[in-house]
Amino acid sequence: MGKLFRKLVPAPAGAGTAGGAVGAERPGGLSARIHDILHANATLGPLFVLLLAVLIFTVAADGFLEPANLSLIVQQVMVVGTLGIAQTLIILTAGIDLSVGAIMVLSSIVMAKLSADQGVPGLLALLIGFGVGTACGLVNGALVTRLRLPPFIVTLGTLNVFFALNLYYSKSETVRGVDMSDLLLWTGNTISFGDTKITYGSLIMLGLFVAFWWVLKNTAWGRHVYATGDDAEAARLSGVRTDRVLLSVYIVAGLICAVAAWMLIGRIASASPQAGGTANLDSITAVVIGGTSLFGGRGLVVGTLFGALIVGVLRNGLTLAGTDVLWQDFAVGVLIIVAVAIDQWIRKVKA
């Protein structure tokens, strides 16, 4: 079996050829081969899990593999997927953002209320909402880079602050879609490809993934994000302005959260101050399952898409198969642990 595998999967370039690249205990053969491949491509693991899950549910649940259902899953992960992009950027810099959900809800309430209560034209309300999200990101970034507090602590604090602002401004009331400009609800409108329908919001999400994949790979800023997360001191000594990079990452993340807010309104046709309760953790889950390392500097943004899809597939598939809701949470929990364990194993490189 090992020989066959080796024939099918050629050795990745470079790995193992440099003298003593992987030190001490290297269990030979298959395990090491998988390690090297996964090391070179952190997203293969999640992709494999995703395909496996799709396969299992195609068999176990009726109607899973229909285009309509698959399109549905993409729509269901639309909001978390977008938040996941923001979270990926921050986690790549070895930080974490616990306030993404709160930023999203605050932005959604602001844009919705401006449109519904004050009659602000849709586009302007939308842009102001984006502005709010960006400003929240700026606050996070400024606190992290100027006060030098750990991102976990900063965003734990701002999570509460943004949430309180949200409740204050909304008076705990939901803003209904019918009262808002149609533009705010546009992300929930569907476009048909043959028989299947998909929402504009999902297309935006997919577009954002492609855009950020490109930016992280092909621009200096993208490379600096990785360098800062991997070894901030080394990056700084190399001439990377790590403070600026960090600040810009948080600002961009805030803007993305505001875009997610727009999608949320489209999905639930309203803006609710109680929404997005689990969004923070869900976004982190998607990132972690998607193969991005919590220690920074490693992982691809497309992995987060896989991570979000995996969770979506699980929830959808388990419901279709009629299993108790308890098992959905159980399965997600197990996946997280497995993903982090694999990440630790992959990270082990002794040069």
Partner: protein
Amino acid sequence: MTTNGVTPILEARGLVKRYGHVTALAGSDFDLRPGEILAVIGDNGAGKSSLIKCLSGAVVPDDGEILLDGKPIQMRTPIDARAYGIETVYQTLAVSPSLDIADNLFLGREPRAPGVLGKVFRKLDRGKMRAEAKRQMSELGIMTIQDITQMVESLSGGQRQGVAVARAAAFGSKVMILDEPTAALGVKESAHVLELILKVRDSGIPVILISHNMPHVFEVADRIHIHRLGKRIAVVTPKTHTMNEVVAIMTGAAEPGAVGYDQVVKDAEREDPAHVAEALKTTTTKED
């Protein structure tokens, strides 16, 4: 100030640096001549790391001046130093493990692709980066790395050293500072790095080599700057002194006025008597 008509490329006079009550540099001098490898040695606490930090822009001295090609310069950050062409390879190497070799080489100075893609979307010119990286690495004779697209973390310590050195040499630098380059390496890899250092010098870039490793120093250095108690107390050469003598001067077990020292002083006197007299005044001698 020229000696024998040769302007030192990098010179420092009377550098002072205090950290609270501790004086790390007490009026230290320094000069680096074109085309040479100058080793800087000194015991722990002698102040040599402070000296190097001043020269590489990591620290601003409290007093004294630094001259590049005879002109005074001010450096507030390592980036300023880089702008002047003073490149430093730190002990920790400062390479990004998760980026590939080409990315690391150009970190902080990435070239953009031509046209719209480059200007508007800021796309990097990957092809150019790779080609250039390959060229630099082969010029320096770092042949064992097969693939420029490898992540740096899969390289051995010596190879990473190679990447860091190539990076320092690649951008038209005037001076290269190497901080303990062989400290973490085994025998074979150290030999490669020393070869590399000679290549760098031969390509026209003078090198400041900080090292604790006497055999390595004696192998490649043209001159040896000995630092002690916050000052430069002697400049000797491997030809005029033995390793033991150099160590003795460094630790204060012997006066600079040991065998061979006078010869160097006489040479210097011929070139610039006033400067030598100054230097002799500030040189410590062992009190009996």
